[in-house]
């Protein structure tokens, strides 16, 4: 984990370059454990940058989310690079965006941040609710150390990090122009034990589980909007002509929406878990995505977001793809 001085110095140096438009990093949030994406436009902005186990946001989303304002006639669009801090999973998003040509390699300057994991705020809030004072956090010998108002607390990694981090296979950025700090050890596996456990339940049990979850969905679209892979000009699920999904919020449309969302990420999901983190009604969305990650891994030996030269999964095939379900 880099110290903040080093991070800020690098950020200042980066933003001072002529070919950098702005830098996206994280800053301390307005209260408690929160952190917020931070846009560094002038060197002074860099003083607020942090990188800690509380920095969950996948900033790659903002590469695709950047709004294109009309360029005034006669002037040229600003084609300078966007510098971005990425954790391992975030870097996969960058790679997958490169694969899908959402961004161009020369348009980004990637600052890699090897990552031991991010804290699951829900777990933390359960332990220490109602925390208004800003809390700092850092990694210490594989544990998360938190500066709580009540004093310092240390938690073992397994106890406090987000589920996605426990299975993470890419803690180190897979693409970076410069890397902050040392690479960390890879501990995740592709065992998909959680998914396997769920799969053995009966169809009725599975449906009941998801029905209850999808019933809660309020279709705020945070899961979609936060996803670094979702950046169509107009989402096919918003279209009214033809309407794949109706606007009304009920179990049928919600289920269809979530199925479509998950399917659209098949072979593209880079497991940053942001969809699940932002869900205000706590639908375990990454579980749905991980099911497809499992199939993509096991059936097609495919891992999205690791090779910028790779072809996307669903644009090709192998003649010997699994077909045992075919009548």
């Amino acid at each position: 984990m880099p110290d903040f001085d080093k991070l800020r110095a690098l950020a200042k140096e980066t933003i001072s370059r002529d070919d950098i438009k702005y830098l996206i990093g994280w800053r301390q949030g307005t209260y408690g454990y929160r952190t917020s994406p931070h846009f560094v436009r002038i060197p002074e902005d860099a003083d607020q940058l942090i990188f800690s186990p509380l920095c969950s946001s996948n900033l790659a989303t903002y590469l695709a989310l950047a709004e294109k304002r009309p360029v005034p006639r006669g002037s040229q669009p600003d084609t300078r690079k966007v510098a971005i801090l990425v954790k391992g999973c975030d870097s996969r998003a960058v790679v997958q965006q490169l694969v899908e040509q959402g961004i161009k390699r020369e348009a980004v300057y990637v600052i890699g941040c090897p990552c031991e994991g991010v804290v699951d705020l829900r777990k933390l809030e359960e332990k220490y609710p109602h925390t208004l004072d800003r809390v700092g956090a850092r990694w210490e010998n594989g544990n998360v150390s938190l500066d709580l108002p009540s004093g310092n607390a240390v938690f073992p990694r397994e106890e406090i990090v987000a589920g996605k981090c426990l299975t993470c296979r890419y803690p180190n950025p897979v693409i970076a122009d410069v890397t902050l700090g040392e690479n960390v050890e890879v501990s995740g596996s592709t065992a998909f034990e959680d998914i396997n456990r769920f799969e053995v339940k009966s169809a009725q049990e599975r449906w009941t589980f998801w029905r209850d979850k999808f019933n809660s969905c309020i279709r705020c679209y945070a899961c979609r909007n936060v996803c670094p892979m979702c950046y169509c000009a107009e989402c096919i699920l918003d279209k009214q002509n033809p309407a794949w999904i109706q606007r009304s919020v009920n179990i049928s449309e919600n289920t269809a929406f979530q199925l479509a969302r998950a399917f659209h990420l098949a072979g593209r999901c880079i497991e940053c878990g942001e969809c699940e983190r932002v869900c205000p009604v706590e639908i375990p969305l990454s579980y749905l995505n991980r099911k497809l990650v499992k199939e993509v891994t096991e059936q097609f030996a495919f891992t999205p977001g690791v090779d910028p030269e790779a072809k996307p999964l669903l644009v090709g095939y192998r003649p010997n793809d699994k077909g045992d379900f075919i009548l």
Partner: protein, 143 residues
């Protein structure tokens, strides 16, 4: 489930093999259940897996996608592309508890009228077992 439940199946058939195969079943007067209705597409590669979700939402109890045998695709590889898509959508549906027998895929060539009968029969028989799908279709919910 009700004794006289008759499943409703929507099938997407590619023009060159499966649709022709179904035509052959017709010209050969091969009888099969009437629960399955066909939508013709030029290639199984045209079938967006979201059609399946949509069909279930619209009230279908099951869906079938049928294309050419591997290597026979009129468009060379559309059926291979479809196979991948279908494989993943099937897994996804199954994962959320939609019985996988509701979503089938078959290879039926233009010469396989009898196979077409078997496929239809198999799909419909299976759906008799699975039963109606009451919680997902739009019309069935409080609308």
């Amino acid at each position: 489930m009700s004794e006289n439940f008759e499943p409703n199946v929507v099938a997407f058939l590619c023009n060159w093999c499966s649709y022709a195969g179904a035509d052959l079943a017709g010209t050969s007067r091969i009888e099969y259940p009437s629960n399955l209705n066909v939508i013709r597409v030029m290639c199984s590669g045209r079938v967006n897996p979201m059609f399946v979700v949509n069909a279930l939402q619209q009230g279908a109890d099951g869906v079938l996608v049928s294309g050419c045998h591997p290597g026979d695709c009129h468009y060379m590889e559309g059926n291979f592309l479809a196979r991948r898509r279908v494989a993943l959508m099937r897994e996804l549906l199954n994962f959320v508890g939609v019985d996988e027998r509701r979503f089938n895929m078959s290879w039926v060539s233009a010469s396989e009228g009898a196979k077409w009968r078997d496929v239809v029969k198999g799909v419909v028989d299976n759906l008799h077992e699975v039963g109606a799908f009451t919680e997902f279709p739009r019309k069935k919910i409080d609308w």
